[in-house]
């Protein structure tokens, strides 16, 4: 409380003057509150590790993830192989590190598709209103009628498996989610006085979209992106697990899980390791999404 009191005094005595200073103050305020959430910090740390593994796996691995060690197939954890080896004698730990790249690539790619297509659709639908809005939203509704795995499976049936196709298949259902969110924010901003004022002074549609609508839709989109990143990882793993996702030799946690199924009796570790990696990563995305929602959603502000 003391900290908040002094913060408020500081804000009163020294009001930020320029918009750059205001933004800086806002960001500083955001980080101050984010640091107080231990769950958020731990999740951020986990995700940083996953990101590093995805970008530069080399320094983290102990073996070449694709090198077959015929002398040690399906060994348990040893000093040499920290998490044991798979049925071909490949190092499980190094394959785990290598698999992070697939999850991150698919997650980022599918979100890019979802936001890139969904955001303009939502803003246009909200801005236009009327029949065109109704039509676009019913189209989006039809994407919601499919469980995301079902729609992804359908698209994979059409496109065939592989990393790129999986990303597309997961990204398309996301379009509906982001369209709905950005339409909602557009509708609420559209009637605000400052937007009416902008229209009155003859601001172009593009300027209104960029200066007023986009900034207002950003917070819910960031929150949703964090939650959907987790879903993308699960669906990728599910597709690869079914043999319809990423194809070998691309490493994937889902493929590791799928090939572990034959050895549940003798070596359950092979199934436990990749599953734990998926769960912990997805959990981190969900927890960070929750923290961001608390911090960015103005309706809940002041409750922490």
């Amino acid at each position: 409380m003391a900290e908040e009191g002094s913060l408020r005094r500081e804000q009163l005595t020294k009001l930020p003057s320029s918009s750059g200073e205001r933004r800086f103050a806002r960001e500083r305020d955001f980080w101050r509150r984010f640091r107080r959430r231990r769950v958020g910090l731990v999740s951020l740390f986990v995700l940083l590790v996953v990101m590093i593994a995805a970008v530069v796996p080399g320094p983290l691995t102990t073996h070449d993830p694709n090198v077959v060690d015929a002398t040690a197939p399906r060994s348990g954890p040893t000093w040499d192989h920290w998490l044991g080896t798979d049925s071909l004698g490949r190092d499980t730990y190094s394959r785990l590190v290598e698999g992070a790249r697939t999850s991150v690539l698919v997650g980022l790619g599918s979100l890019l598709i979802g936001v890139g297509v969904g955001l303009p659709i939502g803003i246009l639908a909200g801005w236009w209103g009327g029949r065109r809005d109704e039509f676009l939203m019913r189209l989006m509704d039809s994407l919601f009628a499919f469980p995301s795995l079902l729609l992804a499976l359908l698209i994979i049936t059409g496109l065939g498996p592989g990393l790129q196709n999986v990303t597309i298949a997961i990204g398309i259902p996301f379009i509906a989610v982001f369209a709905r969110i950005s339409r909602g924010s557009t509708l609420s901003v559209k009637e605000q006085e400052y937007v009416l004022a902008a229209i009155a002074i003859g601001a172009s549609d593009r300027r209104i979209a960029a200066r007023h609508i986009l900034p207002n839709t950003l917070a819910p989109i960031i929150v949703q992106a964090s939650l959907l990143f987790g879903i993308a990882i699960i669906v990728e793993a599910a597709l690869s697990f079914l043999g319809l996702g990423t194809l070998p030799p691309d490493p994937s946690w889902g493929i590791m899980l799928s090939s572990a199924q034959r050895f549940l009796r003798d070596q359950p570790l092979l199934a436990i390791v990749p599953g734990t990696a998926i769960s912990v990563t997805v959990l981190s995305f969900n927890l960070i999404g929750d923290v961001l929602r608390d911090l960015l959603d103005p309706r809940l502000r002041g409750s922490d």
Binding site: F144, P147, G158, L283
Partner: protein, 314 residues
């Protein structure tokens, strides 16, 4: 009320029409040569020709869609190339397993989620609330097919309490039947319980802030009575809509869980058909699953409007 139902019904019909379009376009228009995918990498030209003929691939797309959709409306979803059985009856044969698994999973999800959400939501900010919420988030984050595998390792392989694979029909006795579905239903039910519990908690927190709850407490009602009679009953209204969403989670879950446990349901039929490129079956199953979800959501919306009159007029 009638106007509301008619409006929602018309919207659902339109959405269902788009669903059939999306299904048809995904499989038939996306760049990928169906013939070579069915016949393998190097088919002979005569093989390809015969298959194209059979799948009517040389006819215009609109005509093929019309053929398919006009049949589907009459309940004819085409014939499986491999088994020569009508797709409709193939699906009907598998429906029992999926329906039973879905019902059990939903029941389990609700039975876990409501007490969890109510306990957490009636004491917001406490350690108990925090702990239960963390468990619920974990429930959403753990992939259900991995949970299924871990349960097979623990309860089937090590303890031998449940069969690891396969389905025993109810005609062979209720107990063996339930035993074969217990682990699959837990795998689906737990992940659905996670998201449901969070919604129940949210609704509960909202309701417990209301004035009538303070009044109930002020007149000296026991906390238990306040929670159940004033809190829970009102918190259930928004939760009903979430149940519609849960159908999507549960049917989506059954696709992969039936495959893990080798249960002969609609979900496994779908995966098997995708793997051997039985396009006609994939189309039929997809449209039926999506239609089922739409129908269930429509029912949920109608019951919601019935429970909360404000919805009808918005």
């Amino acid at each position: 009320m009638h106007a509301f139902i008619i409006r929602r019904l018309l919207a659902s019909v339109f959405v269902l029409f788009v669903v059939t379009l999306v299904t048809f376009v995904s499989i038939n228009v996306l760049p990928g040569d169906i013939a070579s995918r069915i016949l393998g990498p190097e088919p002979s030209p005569t093989q390809v020709e015969a298959l194209r003929e059979r799948l009517q691939l040389d006819e215009p797309l609109i005509e093929r869609y019309w053929d398919w959709i006009s049949g589907a409306v009459r309940g004819d979803f085409g014939t499986s190339i491999r088994t020569q059985q009508p797709v409709g009856s193939l699906i009907l044969d598998r429906l029992e397993v999926t329906a039973e698994l879905g019902t059990l999973s939903l029941l389990l999800g609700v039975l876990i989620a409501i007490p969890t959400g109510v306990i957490a939501g009636s004491r917001p900010g406490t350690v108990l609330d925090y702990g239960l919420t963390m468990v619920a988030v974990a429930g959403v984050s753990i992939p259900n097919f991995w949970l299924a595998i871990v349960m097979i390792i623990v309860f089937s392989v090590n303890l031998g309490w449940f069969p690891a694979l396969g389905f025993t029909p109810i005609s062979d006795g209720l107990f063996p039947n339930l035993r074969s579905l217990t682990l699959p239903a837990i795998a689906i039910g737990l992940s659905s319980a996670g998201s449901l519990a969070r919604q129940v908690r949210g609704a509960m927190v909202e309701v417990m802030r209301q004035d009538y709850v303070r009044t109930a407490r002020a007149k000296g009602l026991q906390e238990r009575v306040v929670i159940v009679r004033h809190g829970l009953r009102n918190a259930m209204i928004p939760v009903v809509t979430i149940l519609g969403l849960q159908m999507t989670v549960i049917l989506g879950g059954s696709i992969i869980i039936e495959t893990v446990f080798q249960l002969p349901g609609v979900g496994k039929l779908l995966i098997d058909s995708i793997l051997i490129q039985e396009i006609v079956v994939v189309q039929g199953v997809t449209v039926l699953l999506a239609a089922a979800i739409l129908m269930l959501n429509l029912l949920v919306d109608i019951s919601y409007a019935y429970l909360d009159p404000r919805i009808r007029y918005s």
